[in-house]
Assembly symmetry: C2
Homo-oligomer: 352 residues x 2
């Protein structure tokens, strides 16, 4: 080994879902929205001459728009390059205890990657057999808590009274609730940020807002949390949000009618698709996200995953303990889901 390589940080990186370059595949593997962003976004005027100057380092326009939308003050909102950026910054900012942080054993697979990257000790807490988070597991002393709600890739929602139970038992550490999918779920933890000054709620524009390609995420919490996050952000990169993210992000927030309409459309498709899955012999926890986490009674998930891919339908398969017989299937358009159902029907029938 070369001498200089001894000081290289060695990490096991997160592996994102495949992004096939063939535009003809039915892409149900990374929980993107099947519908385009709002017309306000599509028709926004970008003045590219402005690219010669730096963007606003405070990202004021977007922070103000989001604060207004959620009924918060500007100093309660932090924005970043997708919720991954926001979460990575939050790990670096808040998880500096020698005690381990806690998160579920089956959850967003970036959490252990960030913990390893920043050398943060962690302990995972097993979900129950129905893939529910057990609040009683989060009572011991720890260095912080993070979980998605609804959880991914399990699609299971933790009712707000149980989120509150976790918060009540963790007043001395920062608790991060990662709400990437909350727009498809009954209730957000946002209503609790005034009551719990150690609660950070994280959101993304990549799912319900149809803007994965723009990389926008944000966090909401009390001003002290946001101030600490901003100090770390300004110690990393002053200008993370580029000109187009700021302009287009603002336009997205301004079209609430379209936003809600597209959420409802996905929910309607989800309802139909879940019934079809039942009919085909799949079981799945109740989903409160834009995807389903499903297992077939007789056909192995891996076989379905591979055959679907051969048929140009991409879903997500995790070769991991407890979930290696499940598929994570994004809710696409009605047409896409019909094509998938037809494929599944045929494949399951012929599988021996």
């Amino acid at each position: 080994m070369k001498e200089w390589m001894k000081n290289v940080r060695t990490v096991e990186p997160y592996v994102p879902g495949e992004q096939p370059k063939d535009a003809n595949v039915i892409k149900l593997n990374t929980n993107e929205n099947p519908y385009p962003p709002s017309d306000k976004v599509l028709n926004a005027k970008l003045d590219l001459e402005k690219l010669r100057i730096y963007p606003d380092p405070e990202v004021s326009a977007l922070v103000e728009e989001l604060a207004k939308y959620h009924g918060l003050n500007n100093d309660q909102v932090f924005v970043g390059v997708g919720s991954d950026d926001v979460l990575a910054m939050a790990f670096l900012t808040f998880f500096n205890s020698e005690k381990p942080i806690f998160f579920p054993d089956i959850t967003y697979s970036f959490y252990d990657v960030w913990a390893d990257l920043y050398r943060i000790p962690y302990v995972t807490k097993a979900l129950d057999d129905g893939f529910n988070i057990k609040p009683e597991d989060y009572k011991e002393a720890n260095g912080g808590v993070v979980f998605p709600n609804p959880n991914a890739p399990t699609c299971v929602y933790l009712p707000i009274d149980k989120v509150r139970e976790i918060l009540d038992n963790n007043r001395d550490v920062v608790v991060i609730v990662d709400e990437a999918y909350v727009d498809y779920a009954p209730e957000s933890a946002l209503s609790l940020i005034d009551e719990y000054d150690n609660l950070l709620v994280v959101r993304t524009f990549s799912k319900s807002r149809s803007m994965a390609g723009m990389r926008i995420g944000y966090a909401m919490g009390n001003p002290e949390l946001i101030k600490a996050l901003n100090a770390v952000k300004f110690s990393f990169n002053s200008y993370t949000m580029n000109y187009s993210s700021i302009v287009l992000g603002v336009e997205s927030v301004r079209d609430d009618a379209y936003f809600k309409e597209m959420i409802q459309k996905v929910k309607n498709t989800r309802e139909w698709f879940c019934k079809e899955l039942t009919r085909l012999g799949f079981s799945y926890p109740e989903t409160h996200t834009n995807f389903v986490f499903a297992s077939h009674k007789s056909v192995p998930a891996k076989a379905i995953f591979e055959a679907a891919k051969e048929n140009h339908i991409y879903v997500r398969y995790f070769n991991k303990p407890r979930i290696d017989n499940y598929l994570r299937i994004t809710i696409g358009t009605d047409e896409q889901m019909k094509t998938l159902v037809e494929f599944l029907e045929k494949f399951i029938d012929n599988y021996s």
Copy 2:
């Protein structure tokens, strides 16, 4: 202090130059390009419907374009959200020794911020009285070396044989040459990356490419360095470069004629402006950047800085040891520089 605040990472963030919201100021304080990006960028077709899907996590289109432009292989190029993002990732990836890293005492003021953020020990090495880096200071055992060439805010260029001297004395650590301003200078260290597998050369689109608002930076080095950087990047955020950065970045690289023309324009203005500065009683090291670092024989820099600002001309002033009587002045258009010269002439005449 609240209990949860005890685990918050406390940092002293980098303070970027002011970004005044008033468009009528003459903005010579953050080394932006006075000219817009290439017409190829301005006329690029952005298909915003594509925002619903994630961007290419490998950023292949931009990596390939840059590799082709510089005559490298794709595995020798890493891209990020501005060179700050690239440098921050490089600090985290390569500077993990218990020995201190070395950088100049007067240099880009983000280096000590990143070192503090990541708890990397560091030692600064004093520039000589002409603000030159002294290669002999970089011979002792260390955990890595980083310096800008040309240096900022001093505008001084280190000839390539001296860069080589530093490299020859540092074969066992990673050496980062931060070439944000190299397009205005005689020679890049890029020609040395085949010879020195521990050399990382970092560039930005924010200065000579007129794209500060888009946040694009990149690093070039041998494939092992790039692979390590990518592993850390994929452990932080899979999708850092958004759709518009990728599309517009590629277009910029494709218009080399315009790029070179704008560099020459800035150099011509610089030549004229430097003569005017001499005439007005300023001294300054020879500049190989798009800015000048100047000190007046009798009028304090701070007084000029404040009066200029009152007159809607923004330059940069650093209240720091050794440089607190200097102004860093970006080269703007001929017209902007004439307005500045007229202001300076009057202000200096009337200063008592």
